[in-house]
């Protein structure tokens, strides 16, 4: 009866902001990031990466309520840097890490399955007709990772992306 719709788990409402940043009143150099429509998948990985950063003093996340689809990530750093910079670095290094895993996987695949290259072409045809942006002007640009745009159809996956942050 009170349960929210399932699509609320990943669709951001109109005008909703993806990330809200608030300063922690009690600790210095500490910010609280409230990320909407995300769950442990991204939160745990971000937390792990932030904790490996030498300038981070404190980093933890929680999901305040299972029926409210957001996560709170609290980051405190030394005075040499700011939580926002550290966060940007963490996200960047995460993208690089996953990009690295992906390219290693592709190489391994080519080694094991010589026809893997052909499969890729078949499974992800770049049919231009299907990807007209009827869903709003979200320019998906994981541009550093050529791989991401190679798998076609990425641009027509705007459910949690078609929003004005």
């Amino acid at each position: 009866m009170n349960a929210p719709e399932r699509f609320e788990m990943f669709l951001l409402p109109e005008g909703g902001r993806k990330i809200e940043i608030t300063k922690d009143p009690k600790m210095t150099n500490c910010l609280l990031f409230r990320i909407q429509r995300e769950d442990h998948t991204i939160a745990n990985v971000l937390r792990y990466r932030l904790l490996s950063h030498p300038q981070v003093l404190f980093c933890a996340y929680r999901s305040p309520h299972p029926l409210e689809y957001l996560i709170e990530l609290k980051v405190q750093t030394t005075s040499r840097t700011t939580p926002i910079d550290v966060m940007k670095e963490a996200i960047q290094s995460l993208m690089l890490e996953y990009g690295n895993i992906r390219s290693m996987f592709e190489n391994e695949l080519v080694r094991v399955l010589p026809s893997a290259g052909g499969d890729a072409a078949m499974m992800a045809p770049r049919v231009p007709a299907s990807s007209f942006g009827g869903f709003g002007a979200m320019d998906v640009a994981p541009s550093e990772f050529g791989m991401a745009t190679d798998i076609g159809g990425r641009s027509d996956r705007p459910d949690d992306v078609d929003i004005d942050f």
């Binding site: 699509f7 940043i21 690089l96 890490e97 391994e108 045809p125 027509d156 942050f165």
Partner: protein, 485 residues
């Protein structure tokens, strides 16, 4: 000669008048001062000082002495005058610098080794006593143990290993992409049309878990979403039938289709239309004694093969090579009897597993950690045979070593870690079941819509995209707050 005589005199005085501390206070500083002053700009005095061992006396006093405050500073000044323009004295002091250490015997007793390197820097080390092989084994295992999750009879230990990720003991191991790249490894063990087994080594659990979660919940597929019931006179209720139809996996490339929002009209770009139009009839001329409904009636069991694709718009051209159909033909949907009819139109839409499990492209995606069975003490003879029986076949083998049959771990990968060994007292303390913390054995089983290797690639892409979204959102949030200010 004067100076040393003066020193001796003072020392004698000091000994005979031990109680008058006030006079002793700072007397050494005065002596040092005298020595320095006497040597000021006098080469003869400097040489005399050196010969009478005055240099080492001054050097000895380069320290903090509560009874003689600032004696170090006095000694430094005195040394300056003693060495000024006197090469011989310079050489003497230089020779002293790299001298041998005299160690108090108690230092060696406590097991510490003191070393002096070329620059005169002291370093302390724990001495390596002669260790017997058992200790060495224990020590190397202790080092590797940081990387092991220990499986005990009633619990699991050392799960997180450190207070924070990638930290061991008190070492700080900040993340560097180069180091990571060296440690990271991916090995694909087996690829079949339906599943893939691969190893992901050298990553943290959170990364492997994120990959698993994405595989299960966030890769889009096509599945029947809307069922328009025209006629259903069968025994199964409309909604139950619709539910079952939704769970049928559909072979259609989700990348070819667009997302359909709740207000959007169905188009050939975002919807696939199927028709299910069946009626059950009695087969004429069947003997009365026949009981098998399949023989008596036509269409008594409705299978997924009865679902017919109706191409709309340009779908016929787009999917000329790979027509859209349910992956399996033999999924039993419902049963009918003569006179009962099902007539419905099925609309297929794009969705992700988070929305409904029918959209999940994997039968399952899971990982386990590589087991590591450590034999602490050799297990021999009959015990070895019994030991082998405690594990799945192929894990442990009994080999002849020096004429004794001992058990050796051959292929820990096959082990299911059932902990059968820990149940038997005879192996107490001889075996240790552990798992390697950063070695993930993934097993991804696809339902058939997407090839399993493509699933993993797509999952990694989606993860990268998630990070990208967060990054963009972060920038906007920062810009927004800056504008507010």
């Amino acid at each position: 000669a004067q100076a040393s005589a003066a020193t001796d005199e003072q020392q004698n005085k000091g000994e005979s008048q031990a109680t008058s501390i006030k006079r002793l206070f700072m007397f050494k500083c005065d002596l040092i001062q005298i020595i320095g002053n006497l040597s000021y700009k006098s080469t003869a005095m400097q040489d005399l000082m050196r010969e009478l061992d005055g240099l080492s006396l001054v050097l000895d006093n380069m320290r903090i002495d509560d009874n003689h405050p600032f004696i170090k500073e006095y000694a430094v000044v005195a040394l300056k005058w003693l060495l000024e323009n006197n090469k011989a004295s310079h050489d003497y002091v230089r020779g002293v610098e790299n001298g041998k250490l005299t160690l108090d015997p108690s230092i060696a007793a406590s097991g510490i080794q003191v070393d002096v390197d070329d620059k005169g820097k002291l370093s302390l080390k724990k001495t390596d006593e002669k260790e017997d092989p058992h200790n060495i084994l224990a020590r190397t295992m202790a080092l590797e143990d940081r990387n092991r999750v220990v499986v005990l009879k009633d619990r699991v230990e050392n799960i997180s290993g450190a207070d924070y990720p990638m930290g061991f003991d008190s070492e700080d191991v900040p993340f560097h992409l180069e180091n990571f790249r060296d440690g990271l490894d991916i090995k694909i063990i087996r690829v079949t049309p339906t599943d893939i087994e691969f190893d992901l080594i050298g990553v943290d659990a959170s990364i492997a878990n994120a990959l698993r979660r994405i595989l299960i919940a966030e890769i889009p597929t096509m599945a029947i979403e809307k069922v328009y019931m025209i006629n259903n006179t069968g025994i199964m209720q409309d909604e139950v039938l619709a539910h079952r139809l939704g769970l049928i996996p559909i072979l259609a490339d989700p990348n070819e289709f667009q997302w359909k929002r709740s207000g959007d009209p169905p188009t050939d770009q975002n919807t696939i239309v199927f028709k299910l139009d069946v009626a059950c009839k009695a087969i004429p001329n069947v003997p009365e004694s026949e009981t098998d409904p399949k023989k008596k009636y036509e269409n008594s069991s409705i299978y997924s093969s009865h679902i017919v694709w109706e191409p709309k718009g340009d779908q016929e051209i787009r999917f000329a090579n790979s027509p859209v159909r349910p992956i399996h033909d033999d999924i039993l949907v419902t049963k009918l009897r003569p006179g009962q009819v099902i007539n419905c139109e099925l609309h297929c839409e794009k969705g992700i597993g988070k929305d409904h499990a029918k959209f999940s492209p994997v039968a399952t995606a899971s990982y386990r950690l590589l087991p590591d069975i450590q034999i602490l003490e050799d297990i021999t003879g009959e015990d070895a045979e019994f030991f082998r029986g405690c594990f799945p076949p192929g894990v442990v083998d009994v080999v002849e070593e020096n004429g004794v049959r001992t058990a050796r771990v051959v292929n820990p990968r096959k082990d299911t870690v059932s902990r059968e060994v820990l149940r038997h007292k005879q192996f107490d303390g001889k075996v240790r079941l552990t798992r390697v913390r950063d070695h993930f054995i993934f097993n991804v089983e696809s339902t058939g819509t997407i090839a399993p290797e493509m699933l993993v690639s797509q999952a990694l892409d989606i993860l990268i995209e998630k990070c990208d979204i967060s990054k963009a959102a972060l920038e906007r949030a920062v810009k927004g707050s800056e504008e507010d200010e």
